[in-house]
């Protein structure tokens, strides 16, 4: 693999096309002129309730006769016993005048979730296919510019993961994709709890030209980092929090750090950092939060519903507040985010269940990860939280395939994606 590539991780596990479940139906061959009448009547008396994706009619070549025949599904076959006794009386009444002879055939039980599945299904019996209609960007593909931006942020997450000087850990970069600014960055803090990074740097670097021109210093820095990914690709990366969440208690040789925390995985730390940025940039929640609650009425039961708050003079209060506290440049009132709504997170490794659920709570819009997590991954490997229907929020998940040489520290600075890496937010 030499190219950067973005792969959508669907909310349901893909079923190998040839292993799809099927059900038996009773079908018959009909005269084409009868098709309309029969289909209309059958849809009334025996609608294919749970098989809406299955087409009722199909053309089929009759090899011996050398002509095409029109086949029609009459109804579901019973699971046991005599198929023809199981045909409802009304259907029998419908077919007997035409002296139709019936046969049993198989159709796919579930609607196809991918084009590949669909093509396979149609070999059995035609079905219809509706591609997912999410409104989240990227599911139907990324533009050139968006791809470059994704690769760039992922590369910066990978550099961050390697930047500790010691072992490689998981790293997270939270991004506001609309403005292409970095909201928060974090490394795992399980074994040592670094002093909080200089968030002022983070703030100032956000504003301008996020993809411009720090490349020389940045590239060199990543090359000189002693803790690059080792050449040995069989390396276990056993300091990566989400890969081995249960190993925190195993004593590390490094006893020097006095602060450690088994749950401070990179994603959790990044969420904390973005929340503290939010509090710092928008110190007064008050009326703002009311406004947000109203704006997000669909989410209102989760936003905390600030109660007993006076709504009097709201407009005036707001504009004053804006004048006084929004002097930090571009951070206007309208830009005040609700949690991480609209933000993306770039993680080097697929998040564990704790982190993946934390990202649901914080309303992350898209997750990008580079390496799957077969031990504990919760967005496709072991669990698939993006497909848990009961949750109140669903992010879209993408895996970013990275060129092999990105794993190899020495090559990193030459193996950049088409454009540049990042600005200088502290890696």
């Amino acid at each position: 693999m030499d190219a950067w590539q973005i792969v959508y991780v669907p909310d349901k596990p893909p079923i190998p096309p040839d292993q799809q479940s099927t059900v038996d139906v009773i079908a018959t061959v009909i005269e084409p002129r009868l098709a309309n009448t029969l289909v209309r009547r059958l849809n009334q008396i025996v609608p294919l309730e749970n098989l809406r994706h299955v087409k009722r009619l199909r053309w089929r070549m009759a090899y011996l006769a050398g002509k095409t025949l029109l086949c029609l599904i009459l109804c579901l076959a019973s699971e046991h016993g005599d198929q023809f006794d199981s045909i409802p009386h009304e259907v029998q009444e419908l077919i007997s005048p035409h002296k139709l002879s019936t046969f049993v055939t198989k159709v796919c039980k579930y609607a196809a979730t991918s084009k590949e599945e669909w093509e396979e299904q149609c070999k059995l019996w035609p079905t219809s296919f509706h591609p997912p209609t999410y409104s989240i960007d990227g599911i139907t593909g990324f533009s050139e510019e968006d791809s470059r931006s994704v690769f760039s942020f992922m590369n910066s997450a990978i550099q961050l993961a390697k930047s500790g000087g010691g072992s490689v850990v998981n790293a997270a970069v939270i991004v506001d994709p609309s403005a292409k600014i970095v909201i928060a960055t974090a490394r795992d803090q399980i074994y040592s709890w670094h002093a909080p990074k200089d968030e002022a740097i983070l703030e100032t670097s956000c504003s301008e030209r996020p993809f411009a021109s720090h490349i020389d210093s940045n590239g060199v820095m990543s090359c000189e980092t002693p803790g690059g990914f080792p050449d040995d690709s069989k390396q276990l990366y056993d300091d990566v929090s989400c890969l081995y969440p249960w190993r925190w208690a195993e004593q590390k040789t490094d006893m020097s750090s006095c602060c450690w925390h088994p749950l401070r995985h990179a994603a959790i730390v990044a969420i904390e950092s973005s929340a503290s940025r939010d509090r710092r940039l928008y110190p007064s929640s008050g009326d703002i939060q009311d406004k947000l609650v109203d704006m997000n009425s669909a989410h209102s039961s989760s936003t905390g519903s600030p109660a007993k708050r006076q709504k009097t003079n709201l407009t005036d209060v707001k504009s004053d507040w804006k004048l006084e506290t929004c002097c930090e440049g571009s951070h206007s009132l309208a830009a005040r985010p609700y949690l991480c709504t609209g933000y993306d997170i770039f993680l080097v490794w697929e998040p564990c269940a704790m982190c993946a659920m934390a990202l649901v709570h914080q309303r992350i819009r898209r997750i990008f990860f580079a390496f799957p997590n077969p031990n504990a991954g919760a967005v496709g490997s072991v669990y698939r939280l993006q497909g848990e229907k009961s949750l109140n929020h669903h992010y879209a998940v993408f895996r970013v395939l990275v060129p092999a040489q990105v794993l190899d520290g020495a090559e990193t600075c030459h193996g950049q994606p088409t454009s540049t890496v990042v600005d200088n937010y502290g890696i």
Partner: protein
């Protein structure tokens, strides 16, 4: 998972009552009312309540608050990681609502001994309602047989009606000025 109510000893109810007190504190602070206590050797060593609004960090659930308190306490005492793990394996958590997937997963990572909860969490529950982190038998099998989370005992339904009535008052007091709130009386989305 949910064990019958008659199992509740008076001491269980007493600890759950402390958790309810914490949930009430959350309610008073306009937070989704969930509270908990962590008990070691019959003694409460930490308590916590939901702080998601105050912190603007939707992961600051009661359980996470209490866990942080415990870890800080033990680190001040100079406990090693293995001693910390050993201590967690003797701790019980009493929480007013079934831990969510995040918290249940965290409790399994820490290796807590036992969890008692009030009402079930039909939308987010990680102790049986949606996923099951308390019992690895029900976890999907992963390749290679790598170590999975530690199991913990789990009993639900303890003082559930008290916990639910707190949620109800939260949503009723919610936003009195909002016209026709889109707020059915269901469990809070932040837990």
């Amino acid at each position: 998972m949910a064990s019958p109510k008659e199992d509740c000893s008076s001491i269980t109810l007493a600890f759950m009552d402390l958790a309810i007190q914490q949930a009430k504190l959350a309610l008073d602070s306009l937070e989704v009312p969930v509270g908990c206590v962590i008990v070691e050797d019959g003694e409460v060593i930490a308590s916590g309540r939901n702080r998601t609004n105050e912190t603007r960090n939707a992961t600051r659930h009661a359980e996470m608050e209490a866990i942080d308190t415990v870890l800080e306490k033990w680190q001040k005492k100079g406990l090693s990681k293995s001693e910390t793990a050993e201590n967690f394996s003797k701790c019980s958590l009493f929480v007013t609502c079934e831990p969510c997937i995040m918290c249940a997963s965290a409790l399994s990572i820490l290796g807590i001994k036992e969890v008692f909860y009030g009402c079930a969490n039909d939308k987010f529950g990680g102790c049986g309602s949606i996923l099951s982190f308390h019992s690895s038998n029900s976890n999907p099998v992963t390749s290679g047989g790598l170590p999975q989370g530690k199991d913990f005992k789990c009993s639900g339904g303890i003082m559930a009606s008290e916990a639910i009535s707190l949620f109800r008052s939260f949503y009723e007091q919610g936003n009195p000025n909002a016209p026709k709130p889109h707020r059915p009386l269901i469990l809070p989305e932040t837990q």
